[in-house]
C-alpha cells in the first residue's frame, strides 16, 4: 500500500498496548525452564546435553522448513519451536540416541504443529505427542533410564513402584532435589517449582490448571494411600515423582492446547489428574502424565464449548 508520509495514522482503539507479546512470553517460558535445564545438565551430563541440543535444533530447523514450504512468513523469533523442542527433550531419557530425539522433535513440529496450521492452531501438545510417538516407536530406548551423576542403568521411582521389584523407593528429599533416575528435566521438583512460580508471577499461566491437576492427584492418591496404609508419604511420592510437576506447570498450561475458560481449566486439570492416577495405578505404564494431558487435549474443544462463561448481566449463575 502506498502511503503518503505526511499523513497521520488512523487506527482503531485502543491505541496503546501492553508490552506483552508472543516472543516475550515464549522467552519467559524458556527462562522458567532454565533451572530445570541446569539441573538436568548437572545430573545427566553430556548425553543429556546431546538430547537437548538435538531436540531444539531439530525443532528450529523443522519450523523453518515448514514455514518455507507453506509459503508463510519466516518468523521464528517467537521461539515457540524452541519451547517445544526443549520441553520435549525434558521428558526424554538422557541416554536416548540423539537421532531419535531429533526425529521426535521434527515429528512434533511438522505433524502436530504445522499440519494443523502452525502456531496457535494445533490441537495436541506437540512436545507430548513427540514423546508419545517416541515411546511407541522405540520402547526399548525410551525406557532405558540411568542414575544421575554416574549414569548407571536403573529404574525410575515410578518404575520401581509399578514393577514391585523390591528395590528401595527413593526418599522424598531425593525426589525434591532430583537425584533420581528419570527424564532429563523432570527429576528435580525444586527446579520445576521455581520455574512454575516465575510463570505464575509473570501471568503467563493460570494457577487453576496446576492447582486442580496436582490437587486431584494428591486427593486421589491420598485416598489410595490411606487404604493401602501408606500415609502422607504416598501422595507426596506421587506428586514429586515422574513428570507430574513438569506436566502440571509447563504442559497442562500450554495456551494453545488447553481450554480458554476458567472453569474449563479447572476441569482440564481435574481430568488430567484423574487420568494420571488411573494410568499410574491401573494402566500398563508406570507413568501417565503425557497421555493424560494428551487425552485432555482431545476433550478440550468440547470443554471449551460447554464451559462458556455467563455474560455480564446475564443471570446470576456463577461465572
Amino acid at each position: 500500500m502506498t502511503t503518503q508520509n505526511d499523513l497521520l495514522l488512523v487506527t482503531s482503539s485502543p491505541h496503546i498496548h501492553s508490552p506483552d507479546n508472543v516472543p516475550n512470553a515464549m522467552r519467559d517460558v524458556l527462562l522458567a525452564l532454565l533451572p530445570a535445564l541446569l539441573c538436568g545438565l548437572y545430573f545427566f551430563g553430556l548425553p543429556a546435553l546431546g538430547v537437548i541440543v538435538s531436540c531444539v535444533v531439530s525443532a528450529y530447523v523443522s519450523e523453518l522448513l515448514c514455514l518455507k514450504a507453506m509459503g508463510k512468513e519466516v518468523r521464528i523469533t517467537e521461539q515457540s519451536a524452541a519451547v517445544t523442542g526443549l520441553l520435549l527433550s525434558f521428558c526424554l531419557p538422557p541416554a536416548l540416541p540423539i537421532w531419535m530425539a531429533a526425529l521426535g522433535s521434527a515429528f512434533a513440529i511438522v505433524i502436530v504443529k504445522h499440519l494443523f496450521g502452525g502456531l496457535g492452531q494445533n490441537v495436541f501438545n506437540p512436545a507430548l505427542i513427540g514423546r508419545a510417538f517416541l515411546l511407541a516407536s522405540f520402547p526399548v530406548a525410551m525406557t532405558h533410564w540411568s542414575k544421575p551423576l554416574d549414569g548407571v542403568t536403573t529404574a525410575t521411582p515410578l518404575g520401581i513402584l509399578k514393577e514391585a521389584t523390591g528395590q528401595p523407593l527413593p526418599h522424598l528429599s531425593e525426589l525434591f532435589i532430583g537425584t533420581v533416575a528419570g527424564s532429563i528435566g523432570e527429576t528435580s521438583a525444586i527446579a520445576i517449582l521455581i520455574g512454575g512460580c516465575y510463570l505464575l508471577y509473570r501471568g503467563h499461566i493460570d494457577w487453576r490448571t496446576p492447582v486442580s491437576f496436582l490437587g486431584t492427584v494428591f486427593l486421589l492418591t491420598a485416598v489410595v494411600g490411606t487404604i493401602k496404609g501408606g500415609g502422607i508419604q504416598y501422595p507426596l511420592f506421587h506428586l514429586l515423582s515422574g513428570g507430574l510437576l513438569m506436566g502440571a506447570f509447563f504442559m497442562a498450561t500450554d495456551w494453545v492446547t488447553t481450554p480458554v475458560t476458567k472453569l474449563g481449566r479447572i476441569l482440564f486439570g481435574c481430568g488430567c489428574g484423574s487420568l494420571v492416577v488411573l494410568i499410574r495405578l491401573k494402566g500398563g505404564y508406570p507413568e501417565g502424565v503425557a497421555y493424560s494431558i494428551l487425552l485432555m487435549n482431545v476433550v478440550t474443544p468440547l470443554i471449551d464449548r460447554y464451559t462458556k462463561q455467563r455474560v455480564f448481566g446475564g443471570g446470576q449463575s456463577n461465572g
Binding site: P139, V140, T143, G284
Partner: protein, 200 residues
C-alpha cells in the same frame, strides 16, 4: 399384495441361490479346510515334540474340570507307549489372548519345546514371541521348577529372558508354560522324582 409377495419371493430366491452357492463351495472346501487345520496341528505337534509317532487328544481324560489356562492335553505315543505330553494353553498377553503349545518329555521331565500358535501382540514387540530365538529359551528347561521372567540376561537356570520391552508378552507365554508344567508334574511327574525348586 401381489407386489409384496413378489418382493418376498425375489429376496427368497436370491437368498436361496446364495445359500446354494455358498453351500456348494462349503461342501467342496470344508474337507480341505479340515485337512488344513489337522495338518497344521500335526506340524505343530511335530515341532514341539518331534519324537512321537502318534498323538492323541486326551483332554477329557486329564482335564476333568475346565481349566482357565489349559485347553487341551495331548499325549504323544512312541511305539504305542505314551512318551510326551503336549499342552495347548491360552493366556492373556498385552493385546489379547496368546495361545501356546508346550511339549514335555516324560522320560526326562524336561520341556521339549514351546511354540506360540496364535497371538495379536504388537508387531515388532510382543509379536517377537513367535521368533524361534525366544521360543528356544524354553527348550530343555526342567519341568520341576517354576519358570520366571527376567529382564536381564538370566543368571539362574529357571529364568527366561524377556523380549525387550515386552515383559507382558513374555510373562504371558511363561504363565502358560508354567500352568502346563504344573499339570504335567502333578499328573505325569510320578514316574520321576520331584525336584524341589524355588517356586514362587
Amino acid at each position: 399384495m401381489g407386489d409384496i409377495i413378489k418382493l418376498g419371493l425375489f429376496l427368497m430366491m436370491v437368498a436361496a441361490v446364495a445359500g446354494l452357492g455358498v453351500g456348494y463351495v462349503n461342501i467342496k472346501a470344508a474337507p480341505l479346510i479340515e485337512k488344513q487345520i489337522l495338518e497344521e496341528k500335526i506340524r505343530s505337534f511335530k515341532e514341539v515334540y518331534p519324537e512321537g509317532d502318534k498323538v492323541e487328544n486326551e483332554t477329557a481324560k486329564y482335564l476333568t474340570a475346565p481349566d482357565k489356562i489349559l485347553k487341551e492335553v495331548n499325549i504323544a505315543y512312541k511305539n504305542g507307549t505314551p512318551a510326551g505330553v503336549l499342552y495347548l494353553a491360552e493366556t492373556k498377553g498385552y493385546a489379547g489372548p496368546v495361545t501356546i503349545l508346550a511339549g514335555f518329555d516324560q522320560a526326562s521331565g524336561k520341556i521339549t519345546a514351546v511354540k506360540v500358535l496364535n497371538q495379536t501382540e504388537t508387531p515388532g514387540l510382543g509379536a517377537k514371541a513367535k521368533d524361534p530365538a525366544f521360543q528356544n529359551r524354553y527348550k530343555g528347561k526342567d519341568s520341576a521348577v517354576a519358570l520366571e521372567v527376567s529382564k536381564t540376561p538370566p543368571t539362574k537356570e529357571n529364568q527366561i529372558q524377556a523380549i525387550t520391552a515386552s515383559t507382558i508378552t513374555s510373562k504371558a507365554v511363561t504363565k502358560g508354560v508354567n500352568a502346563a508344567r504344573e499339570h504335567f508334574v502333578a499328573t505325569f511327574g510320578a514316574t520321576k522324582q520331584v525336584k524341589t525348586g524355588t517356586v514362587q
